[in-house]
Amino acid sequence: MKAALEKIGIVGMTVTEVSGRGRQKGIALQWRAGEYRVDFLPKLKLEIVVKDEDVDKVVRIMARSAWTGKVGDGKIFVFLVKKAIRIRTGESGEKAL
C-alpha cells in the first residue's frame, strides 16, 4: 500500500500499532499446557490526510492494495478534516498537506 500511494504522490502518513477486535472473535493461542483465548489482536492503523478531490481515488487505491480476500482485511473510514497546519511554516489548508 505504501508503494501504491507513493506512486500517486502521497508520501506522508502516520502509522499506529493498535489492538483491535472485529467479528472474528479473536483466536485461541496455546499456553504452557492448554489454551487461552485472545480477543484483541495486534493491528495497524494508518492515517492519511488528502485533498477533498483525491479522496475517492486514494480510497480505491488503498482498498485494492490491502485486499487479500480473507477475514481481517480491515476497514477504511473517511473523516472530514476541518483544518490542517504545517507547524514549521505556518501554512494552512491544502498547502499544509
Binding site: Q30, W31, A33, G34, E35, Y36, R37
Partner: protein, 402 residues
C-alpha cells in the same frame, strides 16, 4: 576447592536465570513486583546470621540444627569435619545458601500480581525460619530425621522443590485468585524471549546445583552433570511433543518441560545412572503437564505453576530416586527398586509425604497468621493499576504506549 567454588558460582547462574524466567511470565504492569530480588537479598542475610546454623548446626532432636554456627561462629576457611570435608566450610555454607535463597524465591511465584510487598517479606522471613531450615535439616543435616531414616536427596528435590511447590500451592489458595482470574481473563505471559533466556540460564546454572552437590570435583560430579542434562533434554522434548499433540509445539511449553526435567533429576542426579535421566525426564514432563492442566481446570491461581512443575516434579524425582538409584554410582547412596531394593523406595515415599504435609500445612497456617496480622493482599484498586505502580512506584516500561 576450585570445584566447589565453581559449583557455587555456577549455582548462582540460576539466580539470574530464575529472575528472567519469572519476569517474562508475568503481566506487564506487575513486572517489577516479582519479589524474587528482595528475597534474594533477605535470605542472603538471614542465612549467614542464623539460617545456616538452624539447618546444618548441631542436631536438636532431629528437627533442626542448633545455633552453634549462628553468625558464622566457627565457620571459617578450614573444612568442616561433618560436611564437605574437602572444601572450606565457608564454601559449603555459601553453596547451601544458594538453595535456601532459591527455595524462598520460588514461592513468590504463587502470589504474583496480588501480594503486598511488605507482607511478603514478613512471610518469607518466617517461612524461611520455620519451614525451610527445619526441612533442610531433616534431609541434609547431620542427625536430621529423614537423613537418619535414609531418605536420599542429592541436590534438593525435597528440600527445595517439594517444599516450595507445596508451600506455593498453600499460599496461592490462602491468597485467593487475582481479580479477573475466575472470569477467564487471559493472563498472557508478557515477554517470552525473557522467559527463554531465563530458562537457558537456569539449565546452565542447574549444573552448578547438581554437579556441585557432589561437593568435590571428580567422577560423581561428572555423572550428576550428565544425568542432569539428559533429564532436562528428555523432559523438554517430551513436553514439546505433548504440546504438539494438543495442537502445536510451543516454546513456553518446551522450556517448562526442561525445567520440569531439571527439577525431577535434582534429588536423583548423584545417585542414578546418567541414562536414567531419560525415563526420569520423560515421566516428569508427563506428570507436570497433566498437573498444569489439572490446576488450570480447578481454577487455582497458581499461575506460574510452582506446584505443578516444582512440587510434582520434585515428588516424582524423589520417588524415581528410590527406583533408579545404584550404589555403583555413589557408594554413599543406596540401591533402588530396579536393583531389588524396595526399601529405599519406601524411605523416599516417607520423606516425600513428610515434607509435603509439613510444607503445605505450615504454610497455610503461616499465611493465615500473616494475613490476620499484616494483611497479605493488596487493595483492589492497587491490583487493577498494577503492582509496579502501587507497590513500587516504578514502571518497568516507561513509555506512552504502555
Amino acid at each position: 576447592m576450585a570445584p566447589d567454588l565453581n559449583g557455587t558460582s555456577d549455582a548462582d547462574g540460576p539466580r539470574g536465570g530464575f529472575i528472567l524466567w519469572r519476569y517474562g511470565k508475568e503481566e506487564e504492569c506487575s513486572f517489577n513486583n516479582d519479589d524474587s530480588f528482595g528475597i534474594l537479598a533477605l535470605v542472603g542475610i538471614l542465612w549467614v546470621l542464623y539460617g545456616y546454623s538452624l539447618s546444618f548446626g548441631t542436631d536438636v532432636g532431629g528437627i533442626c540444627g542448633g545455633f552453634n554456627w549462628a553468625g558464622l561462629m566457627q565457620v571459617g576457611q578450614e573444612p568442616s569435619s561433618v560436611y564437605a570435608t574437602t572444601v572450606p566450610h565457608l564454601a559449603f555454607m555459601m553453596f547451601q545458601a544458594m538453595f535456601a535463597i532459591v527455595t524462598v524465591a520460588l514461592i513468590s511465584g504463587a502470589v504474583v500480581e496480588r501480594i503486598k510487598f511488605s507482607a511478603f517479606l514478613v512471610f518469607a522471613a518466617l517461612w524461611f525460619t520455620l519451614v525451610y531450615c527445619p526441612v533442610a535439616h531433616w534431609v541434609w543435616g547431620s542427625g536430621g530425621l529423614l537423613a537418619k531414616l535414609g531418605t536420599l536427596d542429592f541436590a534438593g528435590g525435597t528440600v527445595v522443590h517439594i517444599n516450595a511447590g507445596m508451600s506455593a500451592l498453600a499460599l496461592a489458595m490462602v491468597l485467593r485468585p487475582r481479580k479477573g482470574f475466575k472470569e477467564g481473563d487471559p493472563m498472557e505471559p508478557h515477554n517470552i524471549p525473557i522467559v527463554v533466556i531465563g530458562a537457558a540460564l537456569l539449565w546452565f546454572g542447574w549444573f552448578g546445583f547438581n554437579g556441585g552437590s557432589a561437593l568435590t570435583s571428580g567422577g560423581l560430579a561428572a555423572s550428576a552433570f550428565v544425568a542432569t542434562n539428559t533429564a532436562a533434554a528428555s523432559a523438554a522434548f517430551t513436553w514439546m511433543i505433548l504440546g504438539w499433540v494438543h495442537r502445536r509445539p510451543t516454546i513456553l511449553g518446551t522450556v517448562t518441560g526442561a525445567v520440569a526435567g531439571l527439577v525431577a533429576i535434582t534429588p536423583a542426579a548423584g545417585f542414578v545412572t546418567p541414562l536414567a535421566g531419560i525415563p526420569i525426564g520423560v515421566v516428569a514432563a508427563l506428570i507436570c503437564y497433566c498437573c498444569t492442566l489439572f490446576r488450570t481446570k480447578r481454577r487455582v491461581d497458581e499461575s506460574l505453576d510452582v506446584w505443578a512443575v516444582h512440587g510434582m516434579g520434585g515428588i516424582w524425582g524423589a520417588i524415581a530416586t528410590g527406583i533408579f538409584a545404584s550404589v555403583a554410582i555413589n557408594s554413599a547412596g543406596a540401591d533402588g527398586l530396579l536393583l531389588g531394593n524396595g526399601l529405599q523406595l519406601a524411605k523416599q515415599v516417607v520423606g516425600v509425604a513428610a515434607v509435603m504435609v509439613f510444607a503445605f500445612v505450615s504454610t497455610w497456617i503461616l499465611g493465615r497468621v500473616v494475613d490476620a496480622v499484616v494483611g497479605l493482599r493488596v487493595k483492589e484498586e492497587e491490583e487493577s493499576v498494577g503492582l509496579d505502580i502501587s507497590q513500587h512506584s516504578e514502571r518497568a516500561y516507561g513509555s506512552i504506549s504502555q
